[in-house]
């Protein structure tokens, strides 16, 4: 780990001059971004603006061509793989709920639970009392005690979403990246999700990538608009929607 020895910034996540090209196409173009500890940030932008690529860079799935990505002031994320980054405390929720279908609800949470990750220790490990307590706590938060021994494959779509939120709580990341959480949801579900995210934000920093403007409004947080791989505007939703450049990007020329 080639970490800077001095804490260079107070930001939790700090992207500076990040560029990613795929076959000449610049998915991210000199992108800079700052997320403060405890903050919740919404990132919006039209298709192809680089939202998902930005997440891929932060979680280690994609290596940037140039630029700096610093987490918690110390760790240079561009040199780490997914597993190390996750262990540092960055969690990611995908657009489609991905739970482990052939495991029970409880085992899903156990797999996500922060702590043991090495394969040889897991061969002999049994859940400790603390771990079981934590699992019970999470099960009651997501209201799934009754389903804890049910296979995740048999859960409804909504229950899978809840389970995945439980898994994120179990993972207990410092920073949570959420990719289009309300895609395909009804209005009521969208509202509930916004509440849940605000609840999670009380103890975790959150970055939400979203298309849905009404959802972003419901979140009521600072918004960053991406366009063609760089930041176009930043501010409250009202500020950025008043920005003529944002209007142009969203409504077309």
């Amino acid at each position: 780990m080639n970490a800077p020895t001095m804490r260079s910034t107070s930001a939790l996540l700090y992207l500076s001059g990040v560029t990613v090209s795929f076959d000449g196409f610049r998915a991210l173009n000199n992108l800079s971004l700052l997320i403060e500890p405890g903050e919740m940030r919404a990132i919006i932008g039209p298709n192809g603006a680089g939202k998902t690529t930005m997440m891929d860079v932060v979680t280690g799935k994609t290596r940037p061509d140039t630029g700096e990505v610093v987490f918690d002031g110390l760790a240079d994320l561009t040199k780490l793989d997914e597993a190390s980054i996750a262990t540092l405390g960055i969690g990611r929720k995908f657009q489609k709920p991905t739970v482990f279908e052939s495991h029970t609800v409880r085992d899903n949470l156990l797999l996500a639970l922060a702590g043991l990750r090495s394969w040889y220790k897991l061969l002999l490990a049994t859940p400790t009392r603390e771990e079981n307590q934590r699992l019970d706590e999470i099960l009651s938060i997501i209201r799934m005690e009754a389903q804890q021994h049910m296979l995740a494959a048999r859960l409804s779509h909504g229950q899978k979403q809840w389970l995945e939120i439980g898994m994120l709580l179990a993972q207990d990341p410092k920073l949570l990246l959420v990719d289009e959480p309300v895609a395909g949801m009804t209005d009521v579900e969208t509202e509930t999700t916004a509440q849940v995210l605000r609840e999670i934000n009380k103890t975790h920093s959150v970055v939400v990538v979203e298309h849905d403007m009404s959802f972003v409004r419901a979140l009521g947080v600072k918004v960053t608009v991406l366009h063609e791989g760089s930041m176009l505007a930043e501010g409250t939703l009202d500020q950025v929607s008043a920005d003529p450049r944002v209007v142009e990007v969203y409504l077309g020329r």
């Binding site: 793989d81 997914e82 597993a83 996750a86 991905t98 052939s102 797999l111 061969l123 049994t126």
Partner: protein
């Protein structure tokens, strides 16, 4: 610690399976040795030899299932690990022949005398000791699996690409072992075995002991696999199978899990091969043929991928069918194999064991729907 580890997979069903395997391992040899040939319960020697082979195939199938069924690594080259284990045992058996070979050379096996070898190649040293050969039976396949897995899993080679690599590996080994200057008997392989641990390989008592040893190996394989699969490691392993990238984003270093189970599986296949060779009396490069590895995958598919009993049932049933059909209608076997593959893929995605589960859950669903 190790007993606790091994014990953790022991649920009621598994205990039953292990007992059943051991019971077969004791009953069949006894029925062969003690009962008179006129007794209707007498087991002829050829049947014992045949079922001894099936037990080795069952262990190979279990090894394939461990990586394919539980970790999603479709290996089309497990026959190579089986054959390497077999060759290690074959080398030991060759060294036991001593002066009884056709040429009577106390050091060099017949084929080396025939090919004008002046001295034993370096890699044959040590194989006159059983303990050395026994270590190599496990070590050689493990090292190969480790080397292959290390590069493949780190470079994130998955799915069909990995299958092709394993297939290419066994094919390359087959070509290499066919060469006379490999020093391993070339085309003809290793055969004409006389003794194992001082006992004649032809003696019915030795055959009975080998059969029992195969049953014990299979039972041990079952216990170890069950322990691995039911541990928290095993839970992570099936999670890797179902959603690998999700596991990475949860902070698991997926390569380690895959590598461990791949090496363990190769070692099991090697032991199966080592027990197979003294029972059939020959090992030659044909065992590396890609078709063999594919057949092993088919046994697993027929029996039930991702279950521990499935591969054993599949291996025994398919091979029993093969023995019977190649005797009765030799030209039909390959078509039957192809048809079996299609039937299993279309109708029995979870194999025979899965069919039982399907029927059970269906009857439960019916009961649940019926008015109380």
């Amino acid at each position: 610690m190790i007993t606790r580890f091994l014990w953790q997979g022991m649920d009621r069903n598994l205990r039953l399976c292990v007992l059943l395997v051991l019971a077969v391992g004791i009953a069949l040899p006894l029925a062969n040795l003690i009962l008179a040939a006129t007794n209707p319960a007498h087991v002829p020697s050829w049947v014992l030899q045949l079922f001894g082979k099936y037990l080795c195939y069952a262990l190979l199938a279990l090894a394939v299932d461990l990586v394919w069924g539980f970790c999603g690594i479709l290996s089309l080259g497990h026959g190579a690990f089986f054959a390497l284990g077999g060759y290690c045992m074959g080398m030991y058996l060759m060294r036991q022949i001593g002066t009884r070979g056709v040429y009577g050379n106390p050091i060099l096996p017949d084929f080396m005398v025939f090919l004008n070898y002046k001295e034993l190649p370096w890699f044959w040293h040590g194989f006159d000791h059983f303990w050395f050969a026994a270590i190599m039976v496990v070590l050689v396949p493990s090292v190969l699996a480790f080397a292959l897995g290390w590069f493949a899993f780190r470079s994130r080679v998955t799915g069909v690409y990995l299958s092709i690599i394993t297939q290419a590996m066994t094919f390359a080994l087959m070509l290499a072992f066919f060469r006379n200057d490999m020093g391993l008997g070339g085309n003809n392989g290793l055969t004409d075995f006389k003794d194992i641990l001082g006992y004649s390989v032809q003696a019915s008592e030795t055959r009975a002991a080998l059969f029992f040893a195969s049953a014990v190996a299979l039972a041990l394989g079952l216990i170890i696999s069950a322990a691995v699969v039911s541990s928290r490691f095993g839970k992570a392993l099936t999670a890797v199978r179902d959603a690998e990238s999700r596991m990475r984003f949860l902070g698991y270093r997926v390569e380690g899990f895959k590598l461990f189970v791949f090496v363990l599986s190769a070692a099991m296949a090697g032991v199966a091969g080592a027990l197979y060779v003294p029972q059939v009396g020959i090992i030659n490069p044909g065992e590396f043929a890609p078709g063999n590895s594919i057949e092993a995958v088919l046994w697993v598919a027929v029996g039930g991928r991702g279950t521990l009993v499935g591969p054993i049932i599949g291996a025994v049933l398919v091979n029993f069918g093969k023995t019977w059909l190649t005797g009765a209608l030799p030209e039909v076997w390959l078509f039957a194999l192809g048809a079996l593959f299609i039937v299993v893929t279309l109708l029995l995605p979870k194999g025979i064991v899965g069919l039982w589960g399907q029927m059970k859950s269906r009857s439960q669903a019916r009961k649940a729907r019926a008015p109380a």
